[in-house]
């Protein structure tokens, strides 16, 4: 693909977009995958691909969220083919959310992504459906089931 010309205005726009939304996207991907390295790779790659496409994309932020979650889901699926993640120790740097990450491992990838986008990123069901390429009703079901499973898992851990 041809890389779109990066003018100073384009660079400023994407720098601002990253400053304003990059951390929230990264943390959402972290919760969804449990993997800081996947969150970093998906975030950087989604932004990079959006920059390359330039004005071919009408809504860069929406495109970046969709691309990042697709990339992260693909990478996680690839890892799962070779590694069982459930019993893997959680990175000590993630201690503030260690219990949540452990509980999230009990969910399916779609459930994790849906509840993260809703409870952490604050997206409504309809927008989550667009990000994940799903339907609003399916997102609702995923979130409902995810809440039930998460509460049970967290109560187990809290005793």
């Amino acid at each position: 693909m041809q890389t779109a010309a990066v003018t100073p205005e384009v660079r400023d726009a994407f720098d601002r977009l990253y400053r304003e939304h990059g951390d929230r996207l990264w943390r959402s991907l972290l919760l969804s995958t449990g993997r800081p390295e996947i969150a970093s790779d998906a975030t950087a790659e989604a932004f990079a691909q959006a920059i390359r496409r330039g004005d071919q994309i009408r809504d860069p932020l929406a495109w970046i969220w969709r691309a990042a979650f697709k990339i992260a889901a693909g990478e996680l699926a690839a890892e799962r083919r070779t590694v069982e993640l459930v019993d893997e120790p959680i990175d000590p740097t993630l201690e503030p959310v260690a219990d949540l990450l452990a509980a999230l491992r009990r969910l399916t990838p779609h459930q994790r992504a849906s509840i993260t986008l809703h409870h952490y990123a604050g997206y409504p069901y309809r927008e989550i459906a667009r990000i994940l390429g799903s339907s609003t009703s399916a997102v609702g079901v995923h979130i409902h089931r995810a809440k039930t499973l998460l509460r049970a898992a967290l109560e187990d851990r809290d005793g």
Binding site: L30, S40, A44, V97, L100, A129
Partner: protein
């Protein structure tokens, strides 16, 4: 137990890495974005990407290299129409199981290439027409029920690509064997990626 919202909010305490230099470094690479399939695992290395692409092509899961070269660069990725042909996610809503005998009962069938995808206007709209995806095909061969070089059909499936905001959908360029009833394309195995083997089945079933 802490409220779920509070649990999620604690994520803000995790320091996010500064990726600003990394994303610009990646953006400046003259990397071949044709691997932005996004529905598949993204390989970190170009060598792995090449292997994956070669495997994909060899497996016959995507359109041929010639078609890929001819397609618009933004969609070369593949012509991946799995959102349309993968029936596993909608098994519960399948009216019939795919068999050649059941295929023969479809009112139309063709071999076509996707040229346009229009996502639903509003999935929550009370108007059912606003909740469907329209897919336009350039028809290579009609097996039954139609004529003409192009046709637009509807589906309740939602595109799984990353470009629903007006950009070309990643499934554009995908060559499918499609069948359905009335104006609705049928999933559940009745629409599938084109292969010569399956095309022979369609031809035999419909006598074309």
């Amino acid at each position: 137990m802490a409220d779920l919202h509070e649990r999620f909010r604690r994520t803000d305490r995790i320091p996010a890495p500064d990726l600003s230099e990394e994303l610009w470094a990646r953006a400046s690479r003259r990397e071949d974005d044709t691997v932005v399939v996004l529905d598949h695992a993204r390989s970190r290395g170009r060598a792995l990407v090449a292997v994956a692409a070669a495997f994909t092509l060899l497996a016959g899961l995507v359109v041929g290299a010639t078609l890929l070269r001819d397609a618009d660069e933004t969609v070369v990725a593949t012509g991946d129409a799995s959102w349309l042909t993968d029936g596993s996610s909608s098994t519960l809503s399948c009216v019939e199981e795919y068999t050649p005998e059941n295929l023969a009962r479809r009112s139309w069938a063709f071999d076509g290439t996707i040229v346009e995808v229009v996502p639903p206007v509003d999935l929550e709209s009370p108007n059912p027409d606003d909740q469907v995806t329209s897919v336009t095909f350039r028809v290579n061969n009609w097996y039954a029920g139609g004529s003409g070089e192009s046709v637009t059909v509807k589906t309740s499936n939602v595109p799984g690509g990353v470009t629903m905001n007006g950009d070309a959908d990643p499934s554009i360029g995908a060559r499918l064997l499609a069948s359905g009833e009335d104006e609705y394309l049928w999933g559940c195995g009745f629409t599938m990626p084109y292969t010569e083997q399956d095309a022979a089945v369609f031809a035999a079933v419909f006598g074309g």
